[in-house]
Structure formats: structure tokens, C-alpha cells
């Protein structure tokens, strides 16, 4: 599609946005970019793809490149947001700032906007909340691999981190989500081992 776009096909880029727009928008939102900034960053992501199209290296999966752009934009966005929050902290009257400071510096709530929340199920909302509570690395690693379907190696390229690090993030993220989510129905033991289910912990 990118090659067709470069060769002047007027419809190619629309197809590209149609194919990849949803994952990019979803990823931006879940990395903590709130509306309406998510829409702005969405546009900026594809603009950058368009501008740098001639230098895209086809040896790399397009999705990796695309998510790298989106992720970097999100990182820059959060940096600016932190500055704004920090400024508001310093604008506060003397004495009040210290108490407000740490909270104001926390990352923004990364959940989707209220309207979209309504459409989500209670389970999904719990998951979104738990996901929002994860540190950036584990959260983005899980989003890329479990939601967007990137391989470990591809996610590592997007996150600009070594593969073992990403693997660790994913492990930590899964464990943290498992701990944060509400109790599921009692687990049934595997059939082959049902009779031993009461055994002591080894």
C-alpha cells in the first residue's frame, strides 16, 4: 500500500489508514493518551508515515515501524503532559504545592473516554483499570503482544528494548494483572490429576 501511495495511487493511503487506523488509535488510547489528544496523535502518526514513506525499509514489518512512530509520539506527549502538570503544581500557592506534587506528577489515567467506557463490559473495565495501573514497559509490552499481535521480537523493536527485557515485562504484567483482577470461578483441576488435587504444596 505504501509503495502504491508513493507511486501516486490516491486511494492507497486511505486503505492503509483503514487497515491500520484502528490498532493505532487503540494503542494510543491504552498507552494513556486521553481524548482529544489521541485523535491528534493518530493524525500525526499517519502524517509521519506519509512524510517518511520514501525512506521506509521494507525489510522491516510495516506494523513495527508504525507502532514505533505511534509509541514515540505518545512518549513525547506524556512528557509534555508531565510538564504541564508540574507547572500547575508550581503555580499553586506556597505550602500547597508539596502536598499536591506527587499526585500531580502521576501518569494520566490511560482509560478510554467515558462514552466508550459505557460500552465496555464490567470485566473489560476491570482489565482496563488494572492495565492502567501497570508501569509503562509492562503495559506497552502486553498491549503490543497480546492485543496487537506483535511477536516478541517485533515488540522489542517498537519498545526499543532488548528481547529479554520485554519478556520480563510481559511476565510481570501478566502476574500483576492476574493479581489485580477479581477472583474468577474456582479453578477445576486437570482431569488427569483430579484425585491429587488436595495434595500439599510441593
Amino acid at each position: 500500500m505504501l509503495a502504491r501511495h508513493l507511486s501516486g495511487d490516491r486511494h492507497a493511503f486511505a486503505e492503509l489508514v483503514s487497515a491500520y487506523g484502528r490498532p493505532v488509535h487503540r494503542f494510543l488510547q491504552r498507552t494513556g493518551v486521553r481524548p482529544p489528544a489521541d485523535d491528534d496523535l493518530f493524525q500525526e502518526t499517519f502524517l509521519r508515515v506519509h512524510r517518511a514513506a520514501g525512506r521506509y525499509d521494507p525489510a522491516y514489518p510495516f506494523r513495527v515501524w508504525l507502532f514505533t512512530i505511534a509509541r514515540r509520539l505518545a512518549v513525547s506527549h506524556h512528557r509534555r503532559e508531565r510538564l504541564r502538570r508540574w507547572l500547575s503544581f508550581w503555580r499553586a500557592p506556597a505550602g500547597q504545592g508539596e502536598a499536591d506534587g506527587p499526585a500531580a506528577l502521576d501518569p494520566p489515567d490511560p482509560g478510554p473516554d467515558p462514552e466508550r467506557r459505557l460500552a465496555a463490559s464490567e470485566a473489560t473495565r476491570s482489565l482496563e483499570r488494572a492495565l492502567a495501573g501497570l508501569p509503562e514497559g509492562p503495559r506497552q509490552a502486553l498491549l503490543l503482544t497480546r492485543v496487537e499481535g506483535l511477536s516478541l521480537e517485533e515488540a522489542a523493536r517498537v519498545l526499543e528494548a532488548p528481547v529479554p527485557t520485554v519478556k520480563t515485562w510481559i511476565r510481570r504484567g501478566r502476574l500483576a494483572l492476574a493479581a489485580a483482577l477479581p477472583e474468577a470461578a474456582p479453578a477445576s483441576p486437570p482431569p488427569a490429576a483430579a484425585s491429587d488435587a488436595r495434595g500439599a504444596e510441593p
Binding site: 502524517l47 506519509h50 509534555r80 510538564l83 507547572l87 495434595g199 504444596e201
Partner: protein, 861 residues
């Protein structure tokens, strides 16, 4: 397997609970792990469910497509921003100083496109090249492109050279991977000394238009620039401090490029043998190396080296080569040969007639700088000490300057001491002359009223901690105000400098001004200029009758969290001019990003002090010290004149150097200005204006209780007069023009060394050991553990030789402490060989701090 291990494996792959027999067996017996396995599978299923989400709003898509349609493809913001140039090559991951693809640009080079950067990024152009070549494309109006091999500082060889003329001519050079390019902008190019501007990473992930940053690095006399690929390998604090961030930042991307370009090739490192002594056989892994080939390419790993020279025992050493890295070798002196260590003189083996001599006249650089030494920064983060011999130890605190046997002044503010490292000689002799100064102790008194402007440099957005420190500084200044004080605030960085006038200067107003400035800078981008803000600060101090303000009562305090940039020299000149008018300038580095050397030079030019503020909590103390510092000056316009007797020649002044004519003129002007001001304020007659013969050093202000040592490496023809030193000072204790004079002769024959001679020699040893420790720290910081070890070993050998040559100092506690210190650092380095990188940085910082501590005679004020 424990439950913990089982749970980790489950978290790595929840599906393994059904497929891995070992896991299945455990889960059958362990309800807790079984429950976790279920939950983890549920987590994965729920995450997959997140993919079902509504698409972005249609209007967002339409707006995006409309924007895309309005722009032709392939243009990028950074290409439009490209000002001068860029280049690139594929490069070895070499020693940090040598590592990257390099470029230089000048105004004659209108445009230098970076298709080579595309090549680096693995794009189309690179594919057309042999797999071990990268392409460098150079397009410009006029200039010369020269590519050089970079196999180490000492072994650079011209690789190719191409001249180009004419508008938009394009030249292409192909460079082997592992080399780097230096483009010479031509002789007419004005000096360029931009510091990197911290540009944002290009979010498209492609190193397309790379903006080159010119840095003032010198390589074979040329200016060089390093490629700013945008993809940052975040520098450490130490790197930033040492100005090495340009190099570390380029490393990652270039390494990646090399990985692609040399895929499939055999990997190798380089060994630079250029530093080895001549006249011997060098064996690497049992094979003799051709003496002409100073750089050897070897597979990564440990290699054995042996140096054989006639009449000497062979020296064996192992060195570990890393892939793509140039390793420099320095032979570690053999144990048990203390007499072989280096001595106190540079080039001590050189015959006296073959030494290079300096003219013993004219102005030399003043090395006495009051204010916070860099130590404060270096010691930051060392609070817990190094892990050594099973416990935490603050090794850096063991490094202390030697106690000086200088007597305090009997009267007045300053005492002079002149000595040498020997008392007698019969023939031509190389020796050390020492000039010592000591300031009178003076109790602190309440400070006088001050007019001060805090100039906050926000041209680069400081990090969060630095911002807090800046804010606290403004608060502290507002709170420190006393009756009669006039304080103001100027903020640089926005479209125009912002002023908070003295009558409005309150903490809340100061915070608001700073916050507004930050917002404006974030919205519109910072301006690169500090000069207008400095002018605004000086203007704020101007008032009718300001010329009658007492000396030291008008001050600009420049607080910056980053480098001064290309305005540096202009700022120094302006600070000097204002200091002549009686307004001093102190430079305050905030956080770890401010280069201490730049601030030191600025403070010297402004006749103020240099300070470092590392945390917001220190702001009040630092400011208070600064505001009261003027009260502890015991002498102003201290002029040392050192006249060497006929037949005595100057090799060097340790740590100093002759000043160029413009710098010397500034020193004269500053001295005359102080002279006039003191005469005006205190009625001490003006007596300056003429140069004197001999070596001249001018210290603008000397502070209570401080000591200062000047060491001169000289050669005397024989016994007789050595030198005469005269110190003239505006003595603020006795309120008069003080003149102190001492002469020194060299007696014939032999005389035992007295304690003053030994003190001079100890000071020279301290100077050398300080250099050794600092060099070891810098090498370790740049990843050269072997080099650090070699330098420490040299320091130990130096100390051992000193003790062997001076048996009377065998029980000297100061020397014993240094010997122990060097041995302890040696053990710490050995331990570091197996340790992780952070430990290396801590150790490097500790070594640098120890080096500074050895010469820290001036008090932190």
C-alpha cells in the same frame, strides 16, 4: 521446581499449563499454582478481547487523509530543518571518542544531504553497496571532504580526499565499515562550537535527515562534528559532565547499522600499540608484530602481549578486546620495581638541552578559583561509598590535599611563601619552584546591602529536579532579602527576556514568571540567546549613582542547567566588561547538566564565583554562601610577579599556561578596574596600570583562610639566585596597598632536603597523583578498564618511587594514606572487572573526585 519458578513459567506462557508435562504434574498437586494458571489464561483472553474496539471517529480519519493529500510524500520536518549538513558512515563501535560517523559543516556548505544516513538505516542506498561499505553523500557549494581512517588517535591515516567546487555538486565516497569521515569545511570557515541542542527524536524511526552538531572536539587539528542520529543512547551523568554525550548518543544507531552492513562477516576488535615504547619486540599471542603496524586487528577475546627490550626483563600483559572496539594498551610496570615508576617531572628522561622552554614573562592563567569546587558534583551519589573488601568505603574522602607549612600573615590579609624542592646544586639542575599564598582567617560578619539579579537560563528545558532547584533558588533569593537589598529576576529562554523588577520581587511573583516563561517556551520553542537576557540583568542594576556602589555590592547570579552554547565567548567578554564597571557575575550550575569548566571560565571573567546546585534543598545554603562570600575577601587585585634569575629557564607552570594577548588584556583591564574601584570605595591609592617583567598572574580576589600553590618546573644553570617573587595586593584587612617580596637562591654543593623542600616535592607528587586518579577515572568512565588499571598502576609506581627516593618520608602519614588509597582503588578496579556497569560509573566518579580532592586547597565557599 518451586512454586515461584512454576508461576514465572506460567506467566511467560499461560498455555504451557496444558502442554508442558512438568507444569501439568505440578498443577495437579498445587491448588495455588493451578488457580494462578487459570487466572493467567483469563488475563490473556481478556487482553485479546481488548482488540474489539470501535475504530477512530470518521472525521479524524478524514482530517488525516486531507492533511496527507495536502503534502507531497517523502518530506519530513527534520529535512526542512536541516541547516548545514550531515553525514554519516558506518562505524565501528570503537572507543567512545572515536566511535561514530562524523561530519563537519561550515557556512560554505549550504547543504549536505544525508542519504548516507539512509544507508546507515539499512535503506535502499546501502543495498547497492558491497556489504562492508557504507556510502557518504556530500552535496554543497564549496568545501573539501576528507575521509579518514579512524583506528585510534595516533594512527589516523588519510583514506580518501576529494575536493568539490560548484553549486550543488554531489560527491560520493565509499568508506569501509569501521572507518569514519571528517568533512573539512575549509580554512575560511569561522569557528563553530555548537553544543548539541537536545533535538527530539524523529518519531518515524528512520534516521533520515540527521542534523549534525558541531562540537569543538579536536582530531589532528581539525574540528569535527559527531553525527546526531536522534536515536539516543542516553548518556550517563558522568558522560554529560565530561562532555561526552555527543559520542555516546550516536553509538546505538551506528552500531545497529554496522550490524546490518557487516552481517555475516567475521567480527574483530583493534589493538592500538602506538603508546608502546620504541626499540623493542612486541609479541601478540606469541607472534611478533611489525613495528610499522601500530594498530592490530584481532578477534575479540583475551590476547597475550609481551614486550621485550634488550637489557630489561620482558613485560607480559593480557588484554581483552571487544568486538568493534579500539583498545589502547599501556604497559603496567612490573611489581617490585619501585625505582621504575614515573617521577615528578614530565619528560624526565629528556636531556636538559632538548627540553622545550617557555618564555618566563607575560601573563599566565590564574588557577585560583573560589566557589564550589567540582567536587560537590563528583561526590554526589557517592554517599554510600564503594563496595570494597566486604564493606562500604568512601575512598574519595581519603584523598586529601597535603597540609601546607605556610605561615598565616602576621598582619594584613595575605602571606607569601617561596621555596624550591632542593637547596643546593653544583651544575645545571631541573627543579621545582613553589609560590604559596595564604589568606588570613577572618571571622564572618554581617553582609552589606546587595543589589543582585538572578538570571535563570531556560533556553533548554531543564529536567524536573533542576526545575525544582531553580524555583527554590528564586524563593531563597526572595527570602534572603535584607534591609537595603535590591533583588530582581530575569528569565532567559522565551521570545524576549522577562524581568521581575526589584519592587515586585516576591516568591509568588517569581514562581509565576518562571512558570509563564516555561509555558511560553514550550509553546513557541526556546530562543537560543542568553546575551539579551544578560543585558537585561545588567540594565536592571543600572541606576543613577550605581557607579558609586561599593565593590562587590552589585552582582548577577547566572543559574543554568545546561551548556552556555555558542555565545560563551561573548558572554565572557560582557561579564568581563561589567566586572570592570564593578558588577560581578557568579555562575551557578544547576543539576548535573551544566559544564563546570564553562561556568568556571565565565565566573573568572565576571570576577565572581562558580557554584553548583544539585538539589532544591541546597538552594538556600548555596545562595546564602554566595551572598555573603564578598564579606570574606581578604585581598583584591592580587598580582604575582615571578622573575626568574638569569640562567634559570621555565619548562612549565603546573596546571597553568601563558595567556594569549586578548586574554592578557582582559586581565589588565580587570585589575585596573578593581584598582580604581578600591581607591574610590576604600581610599587605597590606585597603583596599577603597568606591566612588569617576568611571569605575571593576577587573582581578582583572595578569600579568608584559603591557600594557593603555584609550582614552576624550571632548569637552573647552577648555583646562584633562582627567582624573586613580588606580590602586590589591595589588602582589605589592613586597608592598604600591600607588597610582599621574597627571593630564593640555590647554594653550591649538596645540602640535605629540609621540610620545606620535601613539602614542595610532596605538592608536585600530589599534582601528579591527582592527574593519575582523574585520568584513571576518565578512562573507566569511557569503558577502558584496562587503561584505568594501567594509570592507577603508574600512580602506585610513582608513589613507591617517591618513597624510595625520600626515605625520611617513610613514616609520613599523608603519603602512607595515598599509598593505601591507590592500592584500595586497585582492588576496587579488580572487583569491578566482574561487576556491572553502574558500579563502574560509581568507581569512575570516585576516582575523579579523589583526583580533584588532592588539589582542593581553596575552601568551598
Amino acid at each position: 521446581m518451586s512454586c515461584r519458578e512454576i508461576q514465572d513459567r506460567l506467566a511467560d506462557n499461560p498455555q504451557a499449563a496444558r502442554t508442558d508435562p512438568a507444569l501439568c504434574a505440578h498443577l495437579a498437586a498445587c491448588p495455588a499454582c493451578r488457580a494462578l494458571a487459570e487466572k493467567l489464561r483469563g488475563v490473556d483472553a481478556a487482553l485479546a478481547g481488548l482488540a474489539a474496539q470501535p475504530p477512530p471517529p470518521a472525521w479524524v480519519v478524514e482530517r488525516t487523509l486531507a492533511r496527507v493529500a495536502a503534502e507531497p510524500p517523502g518530506r519530513s520536518r527534520s529535512r526542512r530543518r536541516l541547516r548545514w549538513a550531515v553525514v554519516a558512515t558506518a562505524v565501528s563501535a570503537s572507543f567512545l571518542l572515536l566511535v561514530s560517523g562524523l561530519v563537519v559543516m561550515g557556512p560554505t556548505l549550504r547543504e549536505l544531504t544525508a542519504s548516507s544516513a539512509n544507508a546507515l538505516a539499512g535503506n535502499e542506498e546501502a543495498k547497492d553497496l558491497p556489504d562492508h561499505f557504507a556510502q557518504l553523500e556530500f552535496k554543497g557549494e564549496e568545501g573539501k571532504l576528507r575521509a579518514k581512517r579512524l583506528h585510534g588517535h595516533r594512527s589516523m591515516k588519510d583514506f580518501s580526499e576529494q575536493n568539490q567546487r560548484g553549486e550543488h555538486e554531489t560527491t560520493t565516497a565509499k568508506l569501509p565499515v569501521g572507518d569514519a569521515a571528517v568533512a573539512d569545511p575549509g580554512r575560511d570557515a569561522p569557528p563553530t562550537d555548537d553544543r548539541p541542542e537536545g533535538r527530539d527524536v524523529d518519531e518515524d524511526g528512520v534516521v533520515d535527515d540527521v542534523v549534525g552538531d558541531v562540537v569543538g572536539g579536536v582530531m589532528a587539528g581539525e574540528r569535527e562534528a559527531r553525527l546526531d542520529t536522534g536515536k539516543r543512547d542516553e548518556p550517563s551523568e558522568l558522560d554529560r559532565r565530561l562532555g561526552r554525550y555527543e559520542q555516546t548518543r550516536t553509538r546505538l544507531m551506528l552500531l545497529e547499522a554496522e550490524e546490518r552492513l557487516v552481517a555475516g562477516q567475521q567480527r574483530h576488535g583493534w589493538l592500538d600499540l602506538a603508546s608502546l615504547p620504541e626499540g623493542g619486540r612486541v609479541m601478540v599471542d606469541g607472534t611478533e608484530i611489525d613495528g610499522k603496524d601500530k594498530t592490530v586487528r584481532l578477534p575479540p577475546g583475551v590476547h597475550h602481549l609481551r614486550l621485550e627490550r634488550s637489557g630489561e626483563a620482558p613485560v607480559d600483559q593480557n588484554i581483552e578486546l571487544e568486538n568493534g572496539v579500539v583498545s589502547t594498551l599501556e604497559l603496567v610496570p612490573q611489581q617490585g620495581q619501585p625505582g621504575r615508576g614515573p617521577g615528578l617531572f614530565d619528560g624526565e628522561q629528556t636531556p636538559l638541552d632538548a627540553l622545550a622552554y617557555l618564555p618566563a614573562q607575560g601573563y599566565f592563567r590564574n588557577t585560583y578559583l573560589p566557589g564550589d569546587p567540582e567536587l560537590a558534583w563528583l561526590r554526589e551519589g557517592l554517599a554510600e561509598g564503594l563496595w570494597l573488601d566486604g564493606r562500604r568505603t568512601r575512598l574519595d574522602l581519603l584523598a586529601q590535599p597535603y597540609r601546607q607549612p605556610f605561615d598565616p600573615p602576621a598582619r594584613g590579609g595575605l602571606a607569601l611563601s617561596l621555596g624550591a624542592d632542593r637547596l643546593a646544586a653544583d651544575g645545571p639542575t631541573r627543579l621545582l619552584l613553589q609560590v604559596g599564598l595564604k589568606g588570613a582567617e577572618r571571622p564572618a560578619s554581617r553582609r552589606s546591602a546587595l543589589e543582585a539579579v538572578l538570571l535563570v537560563d531556560l533556553r533548554r528545558l531543564p529536567d524536573e529536579e533542576a526545575r525544582r532547584a531553580l524555583w527554590s533558588l528564586a524563593d531563597a533569593l526572595a527570602e534572603a532579602r535584607q534591609a537595603g537589598d535590591r533583588f530582581a529576576l530575569v528569565v532567559a529562554g522565551g521570545p524576549a527576556p522577562q524581568l521581575l523588577a526589584p519592587e515586585k520581587f516576591e516568591p509568588a511573583a517569581a514562581r509565576k514568571l518562571l512558570a509563564d516563561a516555561l509555558l511560553a517556551i514550550e509553546a513557541r520553542g526556546p530562543t537560543a540567546e542568553l546575551g539579551p537576557a544578560l543585558e537585561r540583568a545588567y540594565a536592571a542594576l543600572a541606576r543613577p549613582g550605581a557607579e558609586d556602589a561599593p565593590l562587590g555590592s552589585q552582582l548577577v547570579l547566572l543559574a543554568t542547567a545546561g551548556p552556555l552554547g555558542e555565545e560563551r565567548e561573548a558572554l565572557e567578554l560582557r561579564a568581563h566588561q561589567a566586572a570592570r564597571q564593578g558588577v560581578s557575575l557568579s555562575a551557578l550550575g544547576v543539576g548535573t547538566g551544566a559544564p563546570a569548566d564553562e561556568l568556571a571560565e565565565l565566573a573568572l571573567a565576571g570576577q565572581g564565583r562558580r557554584r553548583l546546585l544539585l538539589a532544591a534543598s541546597e538552594a538556600r545554603g548555596v545562595l546564602e554562601t554566595e551572598l555573603t562570600a564578598g564579606g570574606s575577601v581578604v585581598a583584591r587585585a592580587v598580582r604575582l610577579r615571578i622573575r626568574l634569575s638569569p640562567g634559570v629557564r621555565l619548562v612549565s607552570m603546573l596546571g597553568s599556561a601563558p595567556l594569549e594577548a586578548p586574554a592578557a588584556e582582559r586581565v589588565r583591564e580587570a585589575e585596573r578596574a578593581i584598582d580604581q574601584k578600591v581607591a574610590h570605595d576604600l581610599g587605597v591609592a590606585a597603583d596599577r596600570g603597568d606591566d612588569e617583567d617576568g611571569i605575571q598572574v593576577v587573582i581578582p580576589a583572595f578569600y579568608a583562610g584559603d591557600e594557593h600553590v603555584l609550582l614552576l618546573d624550571v632548569v637552573a644553570a647552577g648555583p646562584g639566585p633562582l627567582a624573586e617573587v613580588r606580590v602586590r595586593a589591595k589588602d582589605l584587612v589592613s586597608l592598604e596597598n600591600a607588597v610582599l617580596t621574597q627571593r630564593l637562591d640555590l647554594a653550591p654543593g649538596e645540602r640535605p632536603l629540609d621540610r620545606r623542600c620535601l613539602a614542595v616535592r610532596k605538592n608536585a607528587l600530589a599534582f601528579r597523583l591527582a592527574g593519575d586518579l582523574s585520568a584513571a577515572g576518565e578512562r573507566l568512565a569511557s569503558g577502558d578498564g584496562q587503561g584505568a588499571r594501567a594509570r592507577l598502576a603508574a600512580a602506585s609506581a610513582r608513589a613507591a618511587r617517591f618513597l624510595a627516593e625520600h626515605p625520611s618520608l617513610a613514616g609520613d602519614p599523608e603519603l602512607a594514606r595515598d599509598v593505601d588509597l591507590l592500592a584500595a582503588y586497585g582492588r576496587a578496579l579488580d572487583g569491578h572487572a566482574q561487576a556491572q556497569a553502574p558500579a563502574g560509573e560509581e568507581l569512575a566518579r570516585s576516582l575523579l573526585a579523589a583526583g580533584k580532592s588532592k588539589l582542593a586547597f581553596a575552601r568551598a565557599r
